[in-house]
């Protein structure tokens, strides 16, 4: 149903077109992949920020923004994603469809801006402009330190960092501040050139487009030099059977404690039984009808939120809940009991049916938003799973209780991280 027309250019760029009529916009996104490593993470994350500061054609940030505004406020979004043990740079440009701006050629013009940002950076003496690099190092360092400002996310991220301390997945998506320090404009430029010419690059276009015209347009736009050879990045490490759960605690002057439990699922995204794992996550904590919401919130009134979510590529499940610090024991007990109950097969028919329908609903609406479509396709590329949404939906219909129990039994608690409210501060 969601047709994806793909083609690989001689320069080793994978082009994927998603002709779809219902949107008001055309979205173009380039995903540049790199292996997530402690040594390069900060460098990789710094790149989009520096690239967005100026290009050969638009030497300053302001020049770029003015151009975007002329294109009816085309939205340029540069993002750093972490999918499994990949760090992915996403360069997006969304323009309104030409039918809303008669006489314009917004996609072609937008594409020029995107290409300029991605492949023609502003340089001085053959490398990135020094001020741009210095300023962006400072900004990125603030961004990394700013993680603590959002306590819900902070608690989840800290759990991952502790749990996966010795693994690539333990690296924060923006890297760390220490590794930023030594980056020079020259070193970064060299790194950029190797990345842009060697690493896997996928470009997606979603919207009301004509593939016959769009393929050649992209081909003639992205003519920069790329290696013909495919560079392969290391695969993600998923299997992990922890011996004894580890416990980490941190105190901060906050009102609410944050309890996070990190599990190893031992199921990869590409595995046959990934759908079973998704189902298990749905029964446990993906929805308001799930066991966590029902028991931690509705029955025990301990929390406003209690959820579980999958880091699908890495094979990790995180459970998060915001509670009074004094209720730690009780909340943890209730949470672990829910997991054990599923392992023991204590799942009602209603939970099965509700979860099936909720998952089907979730996957049916993927095609209703350009960005969720891209997310799904990107997951497929990174996780080596070539399956259409419809197939996955069909699978949900066939999953039985024993499949869910099977997925649940592979799941093992690895780490508990508790962000406690410091005694002297906190709630007033």
């Amino acid at each position: 149903m969601l047709a994806l027309e793909s083609r690989t250019l001689p320069t080793n760029i994978n082009l994927h077109l998603v002709p779809i009529e219902k949107f008001k916009t055309v979205l173009i996104t380039a995903f540049l992949q790199q292996s997530l490593e402690k040594e390069t993470a900060a460098k990789t994350a710094l790149l989009p920020a520096v690239l967005e500061r100026g290009t050969r054609k638009y030497p300053t940030y302001r020049d770029i923004r003015i151009r975007l505004e002329e294109l009816y406020g085309a939205e340029l979004g540069l993002d750093v994603l972490k999918l499994g043990e990949r760090q992915i740079l996403a360069f997006s440009l969304e323009v309104i469809h030409d039918k809303f701006a008669p006489g314009e050629d917004l996609m072609r013009q937008g594409l020029t801006v995107l290409k300029s940002v991605l492949t023609e950076p502003f340089t001085e003496e053959g490398v990135f402009k020094k001020e741009y690099v210095m300023q962006e190092k400072e900004q990125l360092s603030k961004e990394i330190l700013g993680l603590v400002n959002d306590k819900v996310n902070y608690a989840l991220e800290r759990c991952i960092q502790k749990m996966c301390a010795g693994e690539r997945f333990g690296v924060y998506k923006y890297g760390n501040v220490e590794d930023l320090e030594d980056i020079t404009p020259g070193g970064l430029y060299e790194y950029y050139q190797s990345l842009i010419s060697e690493n896997p690059l996928d470009i997606f276009i979603v919207g009301e487009i004509d593939p016959q015209k769009t393929f050649p347009l992209i081909e003639e736009t992205f003519t920069f030099l790329r290696q013909g050879m495919k560079k392969s990045l290391p695969q993600v490490e998923v299997q992990n059977k922890p011996k004894k759960p580890r416990y980490w605690e941190e105190s901060l002057p906050v009102s609410q404690g944050k309890l996070t439990l990190g599990y190893r699922t031992n199921t990869a995204y590409r595995d046959e039984d990934y759908a079973d794992l998704l189902f298990y996550n749905g029964i446990l904590g993906g929805f308001p009808h799930s066991k966590l919401f029902q028991n931690v919130r509705e029955k025990a009134s301990l929390a406003y939120y209690a959820f579980s979510r999958l880091e699908k590529h890495k094979g990790i499940q995180l459970i998060g809940s915001g509670i009074e610090s004094k209720n730690y024991e009780q909340a943890r007990e209730i949470i672990e009991e829910q997991v054990e109950n599923i392992k023991a097969g204590l799942i009602t028919d209603e939970e099965m049916e509700n979860t099936k329908r909720a998952l089907i609903n979730q996957y049916k609406i993927i095609g209703d938003s350009p960005s969720s479509l891209l997310g799904f396709f990107l997951d497929g590329i990174v996780g080596n799973r070539d399956e259409e949404v419809d197939c996955l939906i069909e699978r949900f219909g066939k999953i039985k209780k024993n499949n869910v129990v099977g997925a649940a039994q592979k799941v093992a608690l690895d780490s508990v991280y508790f962000l406690r409210s410091a005694d002297n501060e906190g709630s007033e």
Partner: protein
């Protein structure tokens, strides 16, 4: 039935409106090609409606309710005698939720299959209050944790502290959810009182969008409403304190566990009551003005960015409600004092040098594009349509009104609104040491 159909050729959208008696006002915007169907049921009852009078009943008695009651009611309306509406939506694979703002409360669901069943459920549960003291007591624990969560959110705190500084008496200065103390005063009886006052169909509206047929929606709503016996709507008089033009305090600072200071600056608008096109004009014009001064394509932004005084999270906006309005700008900064100085310098320079036509055209174009782009999202369309409707604004007028704005209008707002006397500043700063 008589549909009032409005077609917007620019957007390529059509919205169907039907008036039911008793209400609610019904709007349907069919959107082919989408699997998702999205419906909302809203009432004009928000956190600021904590003091009101109802005509009739042996004179008009003034009622005061605890802060946070609209939000509390929103949580409890999901309850029914057998359990709660969440569970029932779950049976259809529908995703349901609700949100409470300053001026309205909205119940919603989205689904792909079982639309009719889910829609019936929405209509039913919103019209069937079931509050017991026991369930009210229990919810206090849950909402208490919701409040705690927000206490730890620096963005939330810096924002509400700012409203508290801008406004002396207007209830917009209070947290939507109230406080742990104020919600402890809420009883089942208070919830019923508010429910019967503000959840009369005449005070409500429904918006449905997705691949749906307006006729069927209309039939379903009419049938559902007809089966209920509503007494005629009584006039609700909402009592807001007389809010002076002066701000309550110039600056407010709170310490939180953050990596660097967060700065918000507000300008209080001075109208006492505004709605309809005039209000929409005010909103769009002020937003446009803010973009022309602080937008990412303007010199001020680049300079402040290069000096490390702001980052990409810096934002500006204008809020236009019937009984209050304000400009808000801010973000994270290493030096709130210096940032504020520079913002003032920028505003004064703009006043002196005047606004530029080139920038005016560009930002107008951008706002036009932003509006069109947002129409990819069914939620955006529905939520905004009713939020504007409640202010007597037709959401489809946005592009038209935007065109009417002139550079002179903006000059006037610049000089009348962005003034020293109307501003206040809120800062969240890291704990010392």
């Amino acid at each position: 039935m008589d549909w009032d159909i409005k077609t917007d050729t620019t957007l390529g959208e059509k919205v169907y409106h039907a008036a039911l008696d008793p209400g609610p006002a019904l709007y349907v915007l069919p959107r082919g090609g989408y699997n998702k169907k999205y419906a909302i049921f809203s009432t004009r009852f928000g956190s600021i409606d904590n003091n009101f009078r109802i005509e009739g009943d042996g004179g008009a008695e003034e009622i005061k309710v605890p802060d946070g009651v609209a939000h509390f009611l929103e949580h409890k309306l999901f309850d029914d005698e057998e359990g709660n509406a969440f569970d029932k939506f779950a049976r259809y694979g529908a995703s349901s939720n609700a949100f409470t703002g300053f001026t309205s409360t909205t119940y919603l669901f989205s689904c792909t299959d079982y639309f009719q069943e889910s829609f019936e459920l929405l209509l039913d549960f919103v019209q069937s209050p079931f509050f017991t003291q026991e369930s009210v007591d229990k919810e206090q624990g849950i909402i208490g944790q919701e409040i705690r969560m927000y206490e730890d959110s620096p963005q939330w705190r810096v924002f509400f502290n700012l409203l508290g500084a801008l406004y002396q008496d207007h209830p917009v200065r209070k947290d939507i959810a109230g406080t742990v103390e104020s919600i402890s005063e809420i009883t089942a009886e208070i919830l019923y009182k508010c429910y019967h006052t503000f959840y009369h169909p005449d005070n409500m509206a429904i918006f449905v969008t997705g691949d749906v047929a307006p006729e069927q929606i209309f039939e379903q709503v009419s049938k559902n409403i007809a089966g209920r016996t509503y007494s005629p709507a009584k006039t609700i008089e909402r009592i807001y304190p007389r809010e002076g033009q002066a701000v309550k305090q110039r600056e407010i600072v709170q310490e939180l566990s953050v990596s660097q200071p967060i700065f918000n600056m507000g300008f209080k608008d001075t109208y006492a009551f505004l709605d309809g096109k005039a209000l929409l004009f005010r909103e769009l014009a002020t937003e446009l003005l803010l973009e022309m001064i602080f937008g990412r394509s303007e010199e001020m932004y680049t300079q402040l960015y290069e000096d490390g005084l702001l980052d990409e999270h810096f934002s500006t906006g204008y809020t236009a409600e019937t009984t209050y309005g304000y400009t808000l700008l801010g973000g994270r900064t290493k030096d709130p004092g210096r940032l504020m100085e520079r913002i003032w310098e920028g505003i004064e320079r703009t006043k002196k040098e005047g606004l530029r036509h080139e920038s005016f055209i560009r930002h107008k174009k951008t706002m036009r594009g932003d509006f069109l782009r947002s129409f990819n999202s069914l939620e955006f369309i529905a939520n905004n349509y009713l939020a504007y409707r409640f202010r007597d604004i037709d959401f489809f007028d946005v592009l038209g009104v935007l065109e009417e704005i002139t550079l002179n209008d903006l000059e006037k707002i610049l000089h009348d609104h962005l003034k020293e006397e109307f501003h206040a500043v809120s800062i969240v700063t890291p704990f010392p040491g």
